[in-house]
């Protein structure tokens, strides 16, 4: 693979274009071709040559041992001019060089904080919050009760930590059906007693509510 003179802007631009839809120079893993091309570069690609820069940073991340294990030669002594500063290079704007340090400290601090929050969160709840899956039997007054309306009403109940699930009608005899409805509740937030009471408040439809099944998840 040749891209003209990679020491020139034009050559790097071609490389950039070539890498637009590729992660590596050849095929789908790192190979000698990547190393060779890398070593031909005079410096890191500019920020606006982002495909080339992305590739450059990726190749740079390989250690000499890793490269050896794929049978490639090592990277040229980390192209001193740009190794640690792949960023501005010849980017136009007047960057305040002293500000960047501060910014790095700031981002580092934020990252630290987030990491801390993450490990705290992780140690606090290795598993999910205790939840239960509940099946409720809702019984109507008689065979003339509008079951659809009843279900609609039941589903209007909203509580923090309550999630309605599937429901079905189960015949109980004499043409009367009862509504079996499933829900998932967070144990700490929802009391089943309170929930059944709330359902029974739809007096026009509901005669009684029973808990048919109760499972801890």
């Amino acid at each position: 693979m040749a891209f003209g003179d990679l020491k020139t802007e034009k050559g790097v631009n071609e490389l950039n274009k070539y890498l637009e839809d590729k992660s590596y120079i050849n095929g789908y893993q790192i190979s000698q071709a990547d190393v060779t091309t890398f070593n031909q570069l005079a410096k890191a690609p500019a920020v606006n040559q982002h495909h080339a820069l992305r590739w450059y940073n990726h190749i740079k991340s390989y250690s000499a041992e890793e490269l050896k294990s794929i049978g490639a030669s090592p990277l040229a002594a980390a192209t001193p001019t740009a190794a640690s500063a792949p960023a501005p290079a010849d980017d136009d704007d007047d960057v305040d060089l002293f500000a960047s340090d501060e910014e790095d400290a700031e981002t580092a601090r934020i990252r630290e904080e987030r990491l801390k929050a993450y490990s705290e969160k992780k140690s606090k709840k290795p598993e999910l919050i205790a939840k239960s899956s509940v099946v409720l039997d809702v019984k109507p007054w008689d065979d003339e009760t509008d079951m659809k309306a009843m279900e609609k009403n039941v589903r209007t109940i909203e509580m923090d930590g309550l999630l309605w699930g599937a429901s079905k009608l189960v015949p109980v005899g004499y043409g009367i059906n009862k509504l079996q409805i499933m829900c998932v509740v967070e144990d700490a937030k929802v009391s089943i007693d309170e929930l059944t009471e709330k359902i029974q408040e739809f007096e026009d439809y509901v005669q009684s509510v029973d808990v048919a099944a109760f499972n801890k998840i």
Binding site: Y18, Y28, S61, I217
Partner: protein, 175 residues
């Protein structure tokens, strides 16, 4: 709205070459039972699979692990459900921006985040017209690279990204 998470879990277990154990779904919650241990929640299940496989796909240190965690959450929330077309566009656009500077999602190597997102995006990418693939060139490049591993792709089709050459004249630059 159908989630294909159970399929993703099966695929991941197969890729990692670990027994999936028993997966059940109770309402919205997936649970995995393996070796008498119960794991609840997709995220936890994925991490438990990775742990079983003893691979380093789960991240080598806590920064990586946290990032992977975030990507998995991202995948679960934005990429898995029967999304509307508009949602998918937003998803691809965001992903495309992020992948501008990245070869892999986390760090400089393949992680479980890439694997999970590959499975999650399969359907979207498969139905994406070619000119759109070009719009999301970074996603396409990333996806194309990920899908080359046969053990990861399993029985899924290799999605074709090659027409990209024809339309942007890249061909003439190849020497």
């Amino acid at each position: 709205m159908t989630t294909k998470h159970s399929q993703h879990l099966t695929d991941i277990a197969k890729y990692l070459n670990v027994p999936l154990g028993k997966i059940s779904k109770n309402d919205q919650l997936y649970a995995r039972i393996s070796n008498n241990k119960k794991t609840i929640g997709i995220l936890n299940i994925i991490f438990s699979l990775v742990k079983d496989s003893k691979s380093n796909l789960g991240g080598l240190e806590i920064t990586e692990e946290a990032l992977i965690h975030q990507w998995l959450e991202f995948g679960i929330i934005y990429a898995s459900d029967g999304n509307s077309k508009q949602n998918n566009q937003t998803l691809l656009k965001n992903l495309n921006n992020i992948l501008t500077t990245k070869t892999y999602l986390v760090g400089q190597r393949l992680t479980i985040a890439d694997v999970f997102l590959y499975y999650s995006l399969l359907n979207i990418m498969e139905t994406l017209p070619n000119f759109e693939k070009e719009n999301y060139i970074n996603v396409s490049r990333w996806f194309d690279n990920i899908q080359q591993d046969p053990s990861l792709r399993q029985n899924y089709n290799l999605i074709d990204f090659s027409t990209i050459y024809l339309s942007n004249g890249l061909g003439k630059h190849r020497v």
